[in-house]
């Protein structure tokens, strides 16, 4: 039997099933695949998707960049200085596992009904996983490399920048990858709660109209965005961690 990629076969089978069930069932919440694709094309042509997508991406990018900056700094501080880890550790773990959307009403009351609240939700979703992974990565930097650097006169800043950060990069990138996925979720959830701009808003509106085809069309776009963001991060990951020997590279 020829080695065909199982994933593709599976997706193809799923697409066929979607089409068949959709046609047979004939319900508003499960339109056939072709209907959804046609609707998607129409929405793209009509400009609704593009505008909302742009809004969503702006929210995502700004929120993610803030998460990255906060996450890296906090994570490195926690990894390098025991006292910082002692002070912040349990709070970071707690906030990581807690349902982040529960803070949305708070942001809403603090930042109003606008982009700021959505971005705050994105940060809330993404930052903690980045902190945890960065802290763990920083702690795992081989002590002898730090010692070597100090023996050659490296200042604290040089140790952090030239030794700890590059050494921790592979594991940090794993956290960043997880963070991107969570950021996309935060973006959508935030936009659905604070229905002002973006893809989340269209989904909610379409749902209110009982427009199943539009909901699924936007859902397709959302999934593509999510997968695309993760793929982008993986590409950056591969570039940054080119030096890691093949045997120890985990491809998850």
């Amino acid at each position: 039997m020829r080695r065909l990629p199982a994933g593709l076969i599976s997706l193809a089978a799923g697409a066929v099933a979607w089409e068949l069930i959709g046609c047979v069932a004939d319900v508003p919440f499960f339109p056939p695949l072709t209907t959804v694709l046609v609707r998607l094309a129409a929405m793209v042509a009509g400009g609704q998707i593009v505008a909302s997508l742009a809004d969503s991406l702006v929210n995502l990018v700004i929120g993610f960049v803030i998460s990255l900056a906060l996450g890296l700094v906090t994570g490195v501080a926690m990894g390098r200085y025991r006292k910082v880890e002692a002070a912040l550790g349990i709070y970071v773990y707690a906030l990581l596992t807690a349902p982040s959307l529960v803070f949305a009403p708070i942001f809403f009351s603090l930042l109003g009904e606008g982009r700021g609240s959505i971005i705050a939700v994105v940060v809330m979703y993404a930052v903690f996983v980045i902190v945890i992974n960065t802290a763990s990565a920083t702690q795992g930097v081989p002590a002898h490399l730090v010692e070597m650097a100090r023996s050659y006169g490296a200042s604290e800043a040089q140790v952090l920048l030239r030794v700890m950060l590059p050494a921790a990069a592979p594991m940090i990138m794993a956290g960043v990858r997880l963070g991107v996925g969570r950021a996309v979720t935060g973006m959508i959830n935030g936009e659905m709660f604070i229905a002002v701009v973006g893809l989340g808003r269209i989904v909610t509106q379409a749902g209110g109209r009982f427009d199943g085809a539009s909901v699924l069309a936007v859902l397709v776009v959302i999934i593509v965005v999510a997968l695309g963001a993760v793929a982008l991060v993986q590409a950056v990951d591969r570039r940054i961690t080119r030096w890691v020997p093949q045997t120890s590279r985990g491809d998850q």
Binding site: M148, R150, S151, Y152, G153, V163, P166, A167
Partner: protein, 254 residues
């Protein structure tokens, strides 16, 4: 060059008991002298080296180098590490230039110096490779080049050939001898191999454990330049003596 007086360091071990890593160590190392430090594990030889390097604190005593007391790492000393401690993501060139970069030397100058040292240790052509692509022996050559690049007055070597196979070790010993002939530095070289200690050193500092202290200093008066093939018998005598002393120490411990 190096004066050590009454150096003592102790710490509380895992079981709560106090361990004397070093107690009352006195040692003088002269200019351009090659001193090897030998002893069983736990005798404090690595602690001693790290203290001289300024990487580890101590409880009592002084270490003075060329009149200046040791307060931390300094540009007058450079360390070669047992497990190489190369930055795995950096090229050979950047690794060799690392110490210079930390001292703020401009790029053009430090790359030029790095290249000449890479040539000296016989790794020309490997400047763009990463440590993962090199053998153990080559990696340690990079480590030695890095140490020499900062032009230290004292070279501190912590069992530098312990992590490579014997054939590579012999090659590295010969290369180190010839490098030293050319650039006479003060060297403190830690090893657990008696043959190596006698081959390389002007004096062998024999240490014993619990507490860590200097048991004896054995001079090796063989003429330089040394070579593994010449004067082996003479060295074997000293090696035999050292082994007897070490065996006594091991037996005492039982």
């Amino acid at each position: 060059m190096i004066e050590i007086r009454g150096l003592s360091k102790s710490f509380v071990g895992q079981d709560g008991a106090t361990v004397d890593a070093l107690r009352g160590v006195d040692l003088d190392v002269g200019d351009n002298e090659f001193v090897t430090v030998l002893g069983p594990s736990g005798c404090g030889k690595t602690t001693l080296l790290k203290a001289i390097a300024g990487l580890a604190p101590w409880n009592e005593g002084d270490i003075v180098i060329d009149g200046a007391p040791v307060r931390g790492p300094g540009s007058d000393r450079a360390v070669v590490f047992q497990n190489f401690a190369l930055l795995p993501w950096a090229t050979v060139l950047d690794n060799v230039a690392f110490g210079l970069k930390m001292r703020g030397v401009a790029r053009a100058e430090r790359e030029e110096r790095a290249r000449s040292l890479i040539a000296m240790v016989g790794l020309s052509g490997f400047e763009a490779k990463r440590p993962g692509e090199l053998s153990g022996g080559m990696q340690q050559r990079v480590g030695i080049a890095r140490a020499l690049a900062v032009q230290p007055r004292v070279l501190l070597m912590d069992e530098p050939f312990g992590a490579v196979d014997e054939q590579t070790r012999r090659l590295l010993q010969e290369e180190l001898l010839s490098i030293w002939e050319e650039h006479r530095l003060t060297v403190v070289f830690i090893t657990h191999s008696m043959e190596e200690a006698v081959l390389l050193g002007d004096r062998v500092v024999l240490m014993s454990a619990r507490p860590g202290r200097i048991a004896e200093i054995v001079p090796v008066s063989q003429k330089r330049p040394r070579s593994p093939d010449v004067g082996a018998a003479e060295r074997a005598e000293i090696t035999g003596y050292l082994w007897n002393r070490l065996r006594e120490m091991h037996q005492e411990r039982r």
